[in-house]
C-alpha cells in the first residue's frame, strides 16, 4: 500500500486535488482538539499477563519460571533492550503470542506499537485500587474521583449541534475512566439498543430554579440530543466486509466501528474484555481471550480502513496490572506489576515497533515482580496528544510521550 | 454612597394560654418565659421570598398551629404614601 507521502507526491505531480479523507492531516500529534479523531481504549479486565503476550521466549529464566505456562508459539518481533540491573541492560528477543496472529498484518504495516514495561512506583496489586489508579491517572499513593479522560476532554468546546457525546462505554457496568462533571458519557450495549432505550425520553423545558432539578432536566435533554444524532447517523449502521469475532467483545468492536464510520465524532470509546484474572488454568483461558482481542482489533482496523476513518483513530489497551513472573501451583499466575500495552494506528500517525525497555526477569523487586521501566501515564500522554488535548493538564504533571523520553530515538506518535 | 437597608429581622412575641405546656416553632421547641410569653426571631429574606413560620402550641387536650408569614415587600403597600 503506498505511503501517505507517495500518494501526496503523486497527487501533486498530477496537479489535482486528492479526496482521500484525512490525507492532508498533520500526523499523529494533533495540535488542537480534533473532533474528527477517536481514541479507542480497551480495558483488559483482571490484569493481563504481559509476559505471555509479548514473550521473552528465549530467556532461560522465563522458561524455568513458566515451566508449563511458557508460550512456545510466537512470531519474533525483534530485538529489545532488557533491564538486567539498576544500571545495566542487555538485548534479547521478544515475540508475539500467536493467539494474536491477526495482528501480524498490522505489525508488518507499521501500524502496531508495543510500549514495554508500563507500570508505576509502589504498585498496588489489588484489582480495586489498581483499576482505580489506571482510571484516575494518579500515582499509587494518591486518590481522585475524576477520570484521566474527563480531565483531558472535559470543559473543552464541543462541536455545537454536532456534539453527540464525549465518550461511549461499551459495557453497561464496567469501570469508568471518564468519571466526573462536565462530560457527556453514554453507556450502551449497542447503538441500536441506545436508540431504542433513549426513545423513552422527551425534551423538557429548563426550570427557572432548583439546581438539582435543572441538572436532571439537562441530563435528560443531553440524552435526547445524543439520541437524535445517533438516529440520524447510525440508525442505519454502515456495513463492513470485515469479519468480527463472535461473542460480546466482537459485538462491541463492531458497534464502535459503526459509530466511528457513521461520523458521530465521539472522541473516546471504551471496550471491555474481561477474564484476564487468570489465577488458574491460564493456558487455555488466556489464549481464548487473546484470540478475541486480536481478531477484534484487526476487524476494527479493516472496517475503519474500508470506510476511510482509520487515519483518524488510535487504539490502546490497558489493564490494572501485569502478573507475577513465576507461575503458581494452579496452572496460573497471581497479581503482578508492570506489563506492556499495545497501541494501533494508521502508519501516517504512528511509528510501529517496540518502544521502551523490557523489564528483565533477573532484576525483580522485593516480591519477585517485574520492575516498571516507564510510568504508565506516558501512554496516557500519548493518547491525549493524539486527540489534540493538553496532557499535562489531564495528568497533573508532564510525562514524556512513548518514544520521546531521554535517549529515545523514535516517537510513537509521528509529529 | 447612599444609605441602604442591609438586613431586616422580625421578632415575634406571643403569649400562651394557661393550659399550654410547650411551644414549637417550625418544629423546634421555644422556651416559654415565666410570664407565659415566648419570642422568636425571623430573618426576612431580602429576595422577597415569603418566610412562613408555623407556631404550634401544645396543651394536654389540644394542639393549635398558627401560620405567620413574613415578607419584604418589593413595593409599598397600597394606602401608604
Amino acid at each position: 500500500m503506498p505511503t501517505r507521502r507517495e500518494l501526496l507526491r503523486a497527487a501533486c505531480a498530477a496537479g489535482v486535488g486528492v479526496a482521500f479523507p484525512g490525507l492532508l492531516h498533520a500526523g499523529g500529534v494533533a495540535p488542537t482538539p480534533d473532533w474528527e479523531r477517536s481514541l479507542i481504549v480497551i480495558e483488559l479486565d483482571g490484569g493481563n499477563d504481559g509476559l505471555n503476550t509479548i514473550v521473552p521466549w528465549q530467556d532461560p529464566v522465563y522458561q524455568t519460571k513458566r515451566s508449563s505456562l511458557r508460550i512456545g508459539q510466537v512470531t519474533g518481533l525483534g530485538m529489545a533492550t532488557f533491564r538486567t540491573g539498576a544500571a545495566t541492560t542487555a538485548t534479547g528477543q521478544l515475540g508475539l503470542n500467536l493467539a494474536l496472529a491477526p495482528l501480524l498484518d498490522l505489525w508488518s504495516a507499521g501500524e502496531m506499537a508495543v510500549a514495554l514495561g508500563l507500570g508505576m512506583a509502589a504498585p498496588n496489586r489489588s484489582h480495586f485500587r489498581g483499576i482505580d489508579i489506571w482510571n484516575t491517572g494518579t500515582s499509587s499513593s494518591a486518590t481522585a474521583t475524576d477520570g484521566w479522560l474527563q480531565r483531558a476532554v472535559g470543559g473543552a468546546a464541543t462541536p455545537g449541534a454536532e456534539f453527540a457525546a464525549h465518550a461511549v462505554l461499551m459495557a453497561r457496568a464496567s469501570s469508568n475512566p471518564i468519571a466526573g462533571a462536565g462530560v457527556r458519557t453514554l453507556a450502551m450495549q449497542s447503538p441500536e439498543r441506545f436508540i431504542a432505550d433513549a426513545a423513552r425520553l422527551a425534551p423538557l423545558a429548563m426550570p427557572a430554579s432548583n439546581a438539582a432539578l435543572q441538572h436532571v432536566v439537562r441530563t435528560n435533554n443531553d440524552v435526547v440530543a445524543s439520541r437524535q444524532l445517533f438516529e440520524a447517523k447510525v440508525g442505519t449502521p454502515p456495513s463492513f466486509s470485515a469479519t468480527f469475532p463472535t461473542g460480546a467483545f466482537g459485538d462491541q468492536c463492531r458497534s464502535v466501528a459503526q459509530m466511528i464510520a457513521a461520523g458521530l465524532k465521539i472522541p473516546i470509546y471504551k471496550l471491555h474484555l474481561s477474564g484476564f484474572d487468570t489465577h488458574s488454568d491460564q493456558a487455555d483461558r488466556h489464549a481464548a481471550l487473546l484470540t478475541q482481542l486480536g481478531q477484534g482489533i484487526a476487524a476494527i482496523r479493516a472496517a475503519l480502513d474500508q470506510s476511510g476513518w482509520w487515519t483518524r483513530t488510535l487504539i490502546t489497551t490497558y489493564s490494572e496490572f501485569g502478573r507475577r513472573v513465576e507461575q503458581n501451583g494452579s496452572g496460573g499466575t497471581d497479581h503482578g506489576t508492570a506489563a506492556p500495552h499495545l497501541v494501533f494506528g494508521h502508519a501516517g500517525n504512528i511509528n510501529g515497533g517496540l518502544f521502551g525497555v523490557q523489564p528483565g526477569l533477573a532484576y525483580l523487586d522485593g516480591r519477585g515482580d517485574l520492575r516498571e521501566t516507564s510510568d504508565y501515564r506516558r501512554l496516557y500522554a500519548t493518547a491525549v496528544r493524539f486527540l489534540g488535548y493538553d496532557a499535562t493538564a489531564a495528568l497533573g504533571a508532564t510525562f514524556d510521550r512513548i518514544g520521546e523520553g531521554a535517549g529515545e530515538a523514535t516517537p510513537l506518535l509521528k509529529p | 454612597m447612599a444609605v441602604s437597608i442591609s438586613s431586616l429581622v422580625v421578632r415575634l412575641t406571643g403569649t400562651v394560654a394557661s393550659d399550654v405546656t410547650a411551644i414549637e416553632i417550625d418544629g423546634a421547641a421555644v422556651t416559654i418565659d415565666p410570664d407565659r410569653t415566648w419570642n422568636h426571631q425571623v430573618a426576612v429574606p431580602v429576595t422577597g421570598a415569603i418566610r412562613h413560620v408555623a407556631v404550634t402550641a401544645i396543651a394536654p387536650d389540644r394542639t393549635e398551629t398558627r401560620l405567620v408569614a413574613v415578607e419584604r415587600m418589593p413595593t409599598a403597600p397600597s394606602g401608604i404614601g
Binding site: 458519557t185 426550570p207 441530563t219 | 415566648w38
Partner: protein
C-alpha cells in the same frame, strides 16, 4: 394579656379548634399540592367544626369560647443599615439601635401606619442617614398572622410536608403508615423517636455460613481445581445474597434510619466485597457498621481499625516492622478522620503506619496482633508521644486523632452534606458539642434533623441515590418482600453497587447519581415499574403516591394532563407519568 382581635372580629367562626377535630379524622385530604401552604383557603372557607357548640354553620359559639392556645402579642422589626441612620417604622421612631417594637391589639388603633385586613401588619421603614450626604432609604415589611389556628386539615398538610421531608432526607421516603403514625406528633418528638428507635442489629437473621472458618492457604492448595472452583462459585453466590439481603433490609426494617446510617458509614469506611472475595469478613464488617451506626464514632473507629475486612482491604495485613504499609495510615487520616492535608503532615503518616505495625490476620483471616512485627521504637504523632506499647499503640494513635477538633468537624460536615446538602454555619458549634459529648452520633443526628437549616432546606434540592429511589418506591407502595428480588443488579447499573463502592472515597453522591448513563437505566426501571404498580389497582395508592414520593411538584406537567391520554387511560396515564417525572429523582 390581650388576645389578638382575630377571634372577635373575623368572619370565621370561633377561633378555637377543639380536639374533636382529631377524633373524626378529616376525609381524604383534598388533593393539595405537596409543600403548598393553603393559608387563604383556611380563611376563605370556614370549616364546619363537628361538635363545636351551637347549631348551624359558622354561627357564634354557644358556650364561652376557649381562649386561643397562643396569640401573637408583639412584633419587633429590627433594621440594619449600611450607614448610621435614624429609623422610623410606620411613624414610630426607633430606639436608636435600629429596632422598633409594636405591641398589637391595644396599640393598634393608635398606629396610623397599619392598614389592611386586621391580621395583616405592614410596616414602612424610613431610613434617614446621620450624614445628610448619604441620603435616605425606604423598605417595607409585611407580617401576616393567621387569625385562626390552622384547621386540622391544613395543619395536617404542613405536618405531612415536614414528615415527607424528614423521611425523604433521613430515611428512604415515607410510607402511608409512616404518615398515619406520625402526622399528629410534634416534629421534634418524631425526630427523637426515630433516632431513639434505631437498631444495632438487622431484622433479618444472619446467614448460616457466618461463622464458617475460612480455609488456610495450605488447605486451599490441597483442594482440587474442581473444589476450588466450587468454593469460588459459592463465595460469589454468598456475596450476591448479601447485597440482595441488605437491600431487602432497607425495605423491610422498622428503622430505615439505621440502614441509611449503615450505608453512610459503608461509604466512609470503604471495603469492596468483590475485591475481598471473602463473604464472612464482609458480613462481619457490615454488622459492625450497623452496630455502631448511631453509637459512638470513637468506638466505631477503634473497631474498624481491627476489622478483618478493613485490614485485608487496606493491606494492613502486610503492615510489618521493616516495611510499614502506609496505605492504611494515609487513608485513615485523609478519608476517615481529618480530610486531605488537614491538620497533619506527611511524616505523621509514616509514624501512624508504624503505630499499626503488627496488626494482621491469622491464616483464617481473623484479627491478630503479632508483637514480633511491631515497631517498638519511639514514636511522636502530631508532636505527642505514642508510648502505650504493643497493640495499644494503634489505639492511642486513634485517640490522638480523635482529640483533634478537626476530626469532629470532618464528620459533622459529612453528615450535614448527607442530610442537608450543605454545611450551615451551626456546624462548628455542632462539631464542638459532638466532640465534647464523646463523639456520640445519636444526639448529633437529633440536632441536625431538628435544625432550622435542615427544616428550611429547599425541598427537592438534593438528588436521590439509587437505593433511596428503589427502597423509597417499595416502602411507599408497601410491596411484599416476596414481590421483588435481584434489584441489587439494577442498583449496580445505576452506579450504586452495594458493598462495592467505585473507589476508596466511597460514593461521591449528589449530582453524580444523575448522568446520561444512570438516567437511562433509571428510566428503564421506572418505565417497567409504572405498569406493575398501576396494575395493583389500589385507588388510595394512586392518590397518596405523590404525597409520599414527591418532594416538589411534578415537573413534566404536559404528561400529567389527563387530556394527553386516550379516554380509557385518563386516570392511569397521569399516575404512571408521575413515576417517570424528573421530580421523582429529587428529595
Amino acid at each position: 394579656m390581650s388576645p389578638t382581635t382575630s377571634a372577635a372580629s373575623t368572619a370565621a367562626p370561633g377561633g378555637a379548634a377543639p380536639a374533636d377535630d382529631r377524633a373524626t379524622p378529616p376525609a381524604e385530604p383534598a388533593v393539595i399540592a405537596p409543600g403548598a401552604l393553603v393559608v387563604a383557603a383556611a380563611l376563605a372557607a370556614p370549616l364546619a367544626l363537628a361538635g363545636c357548640g351551637g347549631g348551624g354553620g359558622g354561627g357564634a359559639p354557644a358556650a364561652q369560647p376557649t381562649p386561643p392556645a397562643t396569640t401573637i402579642s408583639a412584633i419587633t422589626v429590627r433594621v440594619t443599615t449600611s450607614a448610621p441612620a435614624a429609623i422610623r417604622v410606620a411613624n414610630v421612631a426607633g430606639d436608636g439601635a435600629g429596632a422598633v417594637r409594636f405591641r398589637l391589639g391595644a396599640d393598634r388603633a393608635a398606629d396610623p401606619g397599619l392598614h389592611g385586613p386586621e391580621h395583616v401588619y405592614a410596616f414602612t421603614i424610613d431610613v434617614a442617614a446621620t450624614d445628610p450626604a448619604e441620603g435616605t432609604a425606604q423598605g417595607w415589611v409585611e407580617v401576616r398572622i393567621n387569625a385562626d389556628p390552622l384547621p386540622a386539615a391544613v395543619a395536617h398538610v404542613d405536618a405531612v410536608g415536614r414528615i415527607r421531608h424528614l423521611f425523604n432526607r433521613a430515611c428512604f421516603g415515607a410510607s402511608a403508615q409512616d404518615l398515619a403514625r406520625w402526622q399528629d406528633v410534634p416534629y421534634a418528638r418524631i425526630v427523637d423517636q426515630l433516632v431513639d428507635g434505631c437498631r444495632t442489629t438487622a431484622v433479618q437473621p444472619p446467614p448460616a455460613w457466618r461463622d464458617e472458618p475460612i480455609p488456610t492457604s495450605a488447605e486451599l492448595n490441597a483442594m482440587t481445581t474442581a473444589q476450588r472452583d466450587a468454593r469460588d462459585r459459592a463465595k460469589g453466590d454468598r456475596i450476591h445474597a448479601m447485597k440482595a439481603g441488605w437491600l431487602r433490609e432497607m425495605a423491610i426494617t422498622p428503622s430505615p434510619l439505621t440502614e441509611r446510617m449503615t450505608l453512610f458509614w459503608h461509604s466512609h469506611f470503604v471495603t469492596a466485597s468483590w475485591d475481598l472475595f471473602e463473604p464472612q469478613p464482609t458480613w462481619r464488617y457490615l454488622a459492625l457498621l450497623r452496630a455502631h451506626a448511631l453509637g459512638s464514632f470513637a468506638e466505631l473507629l477503634h473497631a474498624i481499625a481491627k476489622d478483618p475486612a478493613m485490614c485485608l482491604f487496606l493491606d494492613s495485613a502486610s503492615n510489618v516492622k521493616n516495611k510499614p504499609n502506609e496505605n492504611f495510615a494515609r487513608e485513615l487520616l485523609e478519608l476517615f478522620t481529618l480530610g486531605e492535608g488537614q491538620d497533619y503532615v506527611e511524616n505523621d503518616i509514616v509514624v501512624l503506619a508504624r503505630c499499626f505495625t503488627g496488626y494482621g490476620l491469622t491464616s483464617r483471616k481473623i484479627f491478630a496482633f503479632n508483637a514480633a512485627q511491631h515497631d517498638t521504637a519511639a514514636k511522636t504523632l502530631f508532636g505527642l508521644p505514642v508510648d502505650a506499647g504493643g497493640e495499644a499503640d494503634g489505639d492511642q494513635a486513634l485517640d490522638l486523632i480523635l482529640a483533634k477538633d478537626r476530626c469532629a468537624r470532618f464528620i459533622v460536615d459529612k453528615l450535614c452534606m448527607e442530610f442537608i446538602g450543605s454545611v450551615p454555619g451551626d456546624a462548628s458549634a455542632w462539631a464542638a458539642s459532638f466532640k465534647a459529648g464523646g463523639y456520640e452520633i445519636a444526639p448529633l443526628l437529633k440536632t441536625i434533623l431538628k435544625s432550622s437549616a435542615f427544616l428550611n432546606a429547599p425541598r427537592g434540592g438534593m438528588h436521590r441515590s439509587p437505593a433511596e429511589l428503589h427502597v423509597g418506591l417499595w416502602r411507599a407502595v408497601e410491596l411484599e418482600p416476596s414481590e421483588w428480588g435481584g434489584e441489587h443488579w439494577q442498583l449496580s447499573e445505576e452506579d450504586q453497587d452495594l458493598l462495592d463502592p467505585p473507589n476508596v472515597r466511597g460514593w461521591v453522591g449528589g449530582g453524580t447519581w444523575m448522568t446520561s448513563r444512570t438516567l437511562l437505566r433509571r428510566r428503564e426501571f421506572l418505565g417497567w415499574k409504572q405498569w406493575d404498580l398501576w396494575n395493583r389497582h389500589n385507588p388510595r395508592l394512586r392518590r397518596i403516591l405523590p404525597t409520599l414520593l414527591m418532594a416538589i411538584d411534578p415537573y413534566d406537567t404536559a404528561r400529567l394532563d389527563p387530556a394527553a391520554y386516550p379516554h380509557w387511560d385518563r386516570v392511569g396515564g397521569p399516575f404512571r407519568a408521575l413515576l417517570v417525572d424528573p421530580a421523582i429523582h429529587l428529595k
